[in-house]
Each structure stands twice: as structure tokens, then as C-alpha cells.
Point group: C2
């Protein structure tokens, strides 16, 4: 599929897709005889995973390292597992922290609710 179609199916701009290829997040993209990129379903699946890592705040540089390992083959399975487990642990901790922040924020909002009735804070 063309970069335009790939872009609309993934929600990533064509610009960004070229950038991702340049920095090594996307590799071995097939090319048509005219040099245009020809994306596949495999590419869709890979980029969806990349998006998940990105959406959970993994830096592109680390995603690139994961891509390196992936490319190196089955001997890097344990290393990739480790990388993902570390990332998941960080994510769990961040989730817990964000939950605490949300609780505190809700307390503050409760204060505001009664303050608004009284027309003044505290």
C-alpha cells in the first residue's frame, strides 16, 4: 500500500513515517520500481506495536534498540523479554503514581466544589 494509505490506516503522518524509517524504526520497507514505498500488513502490525511502546512513553531511541534486537533474530529473545519487562514495570509504577495524583486532584476539586458554593476558598 502507498504511504498515504498506510498513513491513514495508522494515523501517523507520511512525514513522520519517513522520519521513522530514517531513524531505524521502520526497516526493509518494500519499494516499487519507481522508488515509492510499498507498505505491507506486517508493517502495519509492527508499527502498531511501536505505537504502543511510544504511547507508553518509551523513547524512540529505545524502540530502535528493540528493533535492532528483533532484527538480530531468535538469539535475542531473552534480551527483548527483559527490555519489555523493564518497560512494563516502569509503566506499572507510573500508573500507580498517576492514580495517586488523580486522588489528590479529586480532593482539591472537592474543596473547590464547596468553595464555589460559598464564593470563596477556605
Amino acid at each position: 500500500m502507498t504511504i498515504k494509505e498506510f498513513s491513514s490506516r495508522t494515523g501517523i503522518s507520511a512525514h513522520t513515517l519517513r522520519y521513522y524509517e530514517k531513524i531505524g524504526l521502520l526497516r526493509h520497507i518494500r519499494r516499487l520500481p519507481n522508488g515509492h514505498r510499498d507498505f505491507s500488513e506486517k508493517d502495519i502490525q509492527w508499527i502498531a506495536f511501536v505505537q504502543r511502546l511510544k504511547d507508553t512513553d518509551m523513547p524512540l531511541e529505545q524502540i530502535r534498540r528493540y528493533a535492532d534486537l528483533r532484527e538480530a533474530g531468535d538469539t535475542t529473545l531473552a534480551e527483548r523479554q527483559q527490555l519489555l519487562e523493564n518497560h512494563a514495570r516502569g509503566l506499572r509504577e507510573s500508573l500507580a503514581q498517576q492514580q495517586r495524583h488523580l486522588d489528590k486532584l479529586n480532593e482539591k476539586i472537592a474543596l473547590y466544589r464547596s468553595a464555589v458554593k460559598r464564593g470563596r476558598l477556605s
Copy 2:
């Protein structure tokens, strides 16, 4: 207290504190006769709240708007409440999304666990 002490109590570098004052996140910081900043406990409380907003990914620009409202006095209570409620809603949604991401990541890790035993993926 000096900027150094304030910095060590809040974990925010002196550089960043001056930057925060410059962009309007910190206001009316008392000054000593020699021009040095003299932070108070009130400043500690305010910056702690700023940190909470920042840690929950509120852009500094929006925190600055909140500071504007706060400065304008009790007539802006409802507006501030609204701002915080919108932020809390976004945070709840983000939390739910991150939880889904974590679940998916854990599924992937489970795949890796068994793949590592077999020495190959899938």
C-alpha cells in the same frame, strides 16, 4: 529561604525555579535587600501543586493560566474548578488507556516467556 534551600526541598533546580518565575508560574517571590529571592512555605505549597499538575502532563502554559485565575481572586473559583475537572477527566482517560496498554504488553511478555523456553518466537 534561599533558592538553594528551596531547590533542595522541592527537587527543582535553581535554574528551573528562575525559569518558572520568568514564565509566570512563580509570582511575588519576596526579595531580600540584596535582591536575592526569599522563598516561603506558601511558595513550597504552591510549587508542590504545580509539580502535581506538571507530573500529570499539564503543559506549563496551562498551569500559568491557572496561576492567572488564582491571582484574579475568588471570582474565578468556578473557572478554576472547571479547569481542574477537565484535567482530572483527561487523567482518568489516560489512566484507563495506559492500563489497556499494560495489559497488552503483559500478553506480549507472556508470549516471550514461552518463546524463550522454546528458543524461538511463534
